[in-house]
Symmetry: C2
Subunit: 376 residues, 2 copies
C-alpha cells in the first residue's frame, strides 16, 4: 500500500544531502530537554494520578483547613481514596507518547545562542510544549483522528468528553508553568499565540471541503495555527535572555520557521510513509482539507472544478502522488520551501551579532535544515 | 408540565423572607461591572470579528513586517478580507447571552470591601468570567446540552468543533487579560483553579449513571468544578488589595461560597421553573448525574438499588419533586445549605477587621444570602 522508504525519499529530498536528525540538532541542549520532559511529566502526569491526589483529600483547597459543617467533613472522610481513576489511565497513555519536542528545542537552542541557557528556559519550553499538546488533544476530538504519533489517539481510547477536559487541564498547567518564569510578557505572548491557534483552526473549519481555498487563506491559516506559537517560542527565549530590543526579530524568525514547518508537514501528508509519519498519509486531503500541494495542483489542472473531478474519482494515494509529481507540484513545493528556508537563514544572519555562542547559532541553522528536510 | 412559580417558591424558600436580587447586591459595583462587560466584549467578541481582523492582514504577526518570498506576499494580498465568518456569527451569539456575572460580582464586592476598588479588579473579574465562559462552552459539548441560559447552546447552533476551539480561544484571552493585572500570583491561582475545574469534570464523568456515588465524592467534585474558581475570585481580590496575609482566608471564604452555590444549583435543577432557570429541570438526573438531593433520597429509601428502581420507573419531574418533599430531602438539603451559609457568614465576621468599607462588607453578606435563596 505505502511506497517504500526509498521511493518516498526520492519523492521528497531536493538534493541527496542528508540533514541532521532533530536529536542530533538538539544534542547540545539534551540536558535541558530532559528537564522539559520532567516538567511535563510532573505537571500533567505524575501529579495527576488523581486517585492518589484525592486520597490525601482535595487539592486546591485543603479540606482540613476549611471550617465545614460536620456532616460534610464526615462524608469527605468516608470517601478518601475510593476513586477509580480513568484519569490515571489517560495520564499514563499521554506520558507514553511524548512528541519530538520541536518547540522546546527551538526555545532551548535560541536561548543557548543568545546566552548561557537561562534556568527558566526549560520551564518556558515545557509550558509551550504543553500548549501544543493541549491543542493536539482537541484537534483529535475535532478531526475524529484515530491515530496520533503512531498510537491510538486519546479520544479513540477514552472518548471525547474526557479528552476535551484533559486538554483544558493541560492548558491550565501550561499557563501555571509559564507564570513561574516570572515574566508577564511571556504569559501575554503565549496567550496571544494560543488564541491565534484556536482562531486559525476555526477558520480552517470553514474551508473544509472547499476546492477554491485561496493560497493566501492557506498561508494565513498556517500562520495562525502553527507559526504563531513558534514565534512565541523564539520571542520567549529572547525575552528570557534579556534581548528585549530584538524580540520582534526573533518572533519573526520563529513565525517564518513555523510556516516552513507546516508546509513540510502538509507535503509529508502526501509523500511520507505511514510508518514514519505515525498517521495515515493523505489524511488531510481525505478530510477535505486542501493544503498547498493540492492548491498548486488545482491551479495547474484547471481550477476548483477540475480538482473536484479529480478527487471524486477517488484516486489512490499513489495516483495522487503521481499527479503531484507529473504536474511539477512537488518541484514547485520544494522551490517554495527552499525560498522560505532561505528567508529563515537570512534572518538568522541578521541576528548573528546578537548571538553569544557561535555553535548554538549553527544549531539554529541546523534546525532550519531539519524543518526543511525532515521525514516525520 | 412545570410547577407554577409560586409552587416552586413554596418548595424552596426556607422562610418567607425575600433576599436581594443579584442586581441589587451588585448595585454598588454596577459601574465596574459595566467595565467587566466591556472587557469581555472587547476581548472575545468585537476584536474577534475575524473577517475584519483578517481584512487588515494577519493578527499576531503583521505580515507586512515579515520578509517573505514574493509568491507568498502576492497570495496573501489577493485574499484580504475574502473570509466569510462563521466566527463572527458565533461571537454575536455569545455576546447576546452574557451570564449573571456572579464571579465578577464576588471579585468586585470583595475588592470594594477591602479597599477602594483597584483599577485592575474589573480586568481580573473579566478574566475569571471568561474562564467560566470557556468551561461552559466545553461543558455544552460534553453534555450535548441544547439549551444554555434559555437559548440554544453554541454546539447546537454551530456544531462541536468550533465550540471546542472557541472555548480554547476564550481561555487564552482570559489568561492574557489576567496577565495585564501585572501580578503573577493571579496567573498561578487562576490556572490552578482552571485545572481543578477540568479534573473535577473528568472525575464527574466517572460517576455518571452510578447510583452509589458517595456523598464525599459529590462534595469533592463540586469543590473542584465550581468552588475552586470562586476561591480564586475572592483570593484574587485580596491580592489586588495588598492583603497578602489574608489571601488564604479569602480563598476559603470563596470556596465555601462556591460549595453553597453549586448545592443551590443542584437543588434548583429539581425544583426551579424551566423558564426561570433557562434549561430543563431535572436534566442532571436525567443525564445520570446524581447530585446531593438524589443521594439523600437514596439513603432514605434504602440505598443504590432502591434509587435505581425508583428512577427506572421513569418518574415525572413532579413525582421526583414529591418524593424529595415526602422523604424530607428538601428539608434536609435546606438544613445543610443553611449550615454552609452560616459558615460563610462566620468567615466574613472573622475577616471583618480587614475590611475598610462596612457597607461593602454588608454586600458580601447579601451575596451569601443571594446564593442561598436565589431562584436561578
Amino acid at each position: 500500500m505505502n511506497s517504500s522508504p526509498s521511493a518516498s525519499a526520492a519523492l521528497r529530498a531536493p538534493s541527496p544531502s542528508r540533514c541532521k536528525s532533530l536529536a542530533e540538532v538538539a544534542y547540545p541542549v539534551a540536558e535541558e530537554l530532559e528537564r522539559v520532559r520532567e516538567f511535563i511529566t510532573e505537571r500533567v502526569f505524575r501529579e495527576e494520578s488523581f486517585a492518589e491526589l484525592l486520597s490525601h483529600t482535595g487539592d486546591t483547597v485543603g479540606w482540613d483547613r476549611l471550617v465545614l459543617p460536620e456532616w460534610m467533613e464526615r462524608a469527605l472522610y468516608q470517601t478518601h481514596g475510593s476513586f477509580e481513576s480513568r484519569t490515571r489511565a489517560m495520564s499514563m497513555h499521554l506520558a507514553a507518547r511524548g512528541g519530538k519536542l520541536f518547540r522546546a528545542t527551538l526555545i532551548l537552542t535560541t536561548s543557548r545562542a543568545l546566552s548561557r541557557i537561562d534556568a527558566r528556559a526549560p520551564k518556558l519550553a515545557a509550558g509551550l510544549e504543553l500548549i501544543h499538546l493541549a491543542t493536539l488533544l482537541h484537534d483529535d476530538v475535532i478531526d475524529r483522528a484515530d491515530l496520533r504519533r503512531g498510537s491510538p489517539s486519546m479520544p479513540a481510547l477514552f472518548d471525547n468528553a474526557p479528552t476535551v477536559l484533559m486538554g483544558d487541564h493541560v492548558f491550565a498547567r501550561a499557563f501555571e508553568l509559564i507564570s513561574e518564569c516570572g515574566d508577564m510578557r511571556l504569559i501575554a505572548s503565549s496567550s496571544r499565540a494560543t488564541s491565534a491557534m484556536c482562531r486559525g483552526e476555526i477558520e480552517q473549519l470553514q474551508w473544509i471541503g472547499r476546492h477554491d481555498v485561496p493560497e493566501g487563506a492557506y498561508f494565513r491559516l498556517i500562520e495562525m495555527k502553527t507559526a504563531a506559537l513558534m514565534g512565541a517560542c523564539a520571542e520567549g527565549a529572547a525575552l528570557l535572555a534579556g534581548h528585549d530590543h530584538s524580540r520582534g526579530a526573533w518572533h519573526r524568525f520563529g513565525v517564518t520557521l513555523g510556516l516552513l514547518f507546516q508546509m513540510t508537514d502538509d507535503l509529508l501528508d502526501f509523500i511520507a510513509d505511514d510508518s514514519v509519519l505515525g498517521k495515515q498519509t493523505g489524511s488531510d486531503s481525505a478530510a477535505g482539507k486542501y493544503t498547498l500541494p493540492m492548491l498548486i495542483l488545482r491551479d495547474r489542472i484547471g481550477g476548483p472544478r477540475a480538482l473536484r473531478d479529480f478527487l471524486e474519482a477517488a484516486p489512490s494515494p499513489e495516483a495522487i502522488r503521481a499527479a503531484l509529481r507529473d504536474h511539477g507540484v512537488l518541484d514547485e513545493s520544494w522551490r517554495r520551501m527552499e525560498d522560505l528556508a532561505q528567508s529563515c537563514r537570512e534572518q538568522l544572519d541578521m541576528l548573528a551579532p546578537a548571538c553569544a555562542d557561535l555553535s548554538a547559532q549553527e544549531s539554529l541553522h541546523d534546525l532550519v535544515d531539519f524543518v526543511l528536510l525532515r521525514d516525520h
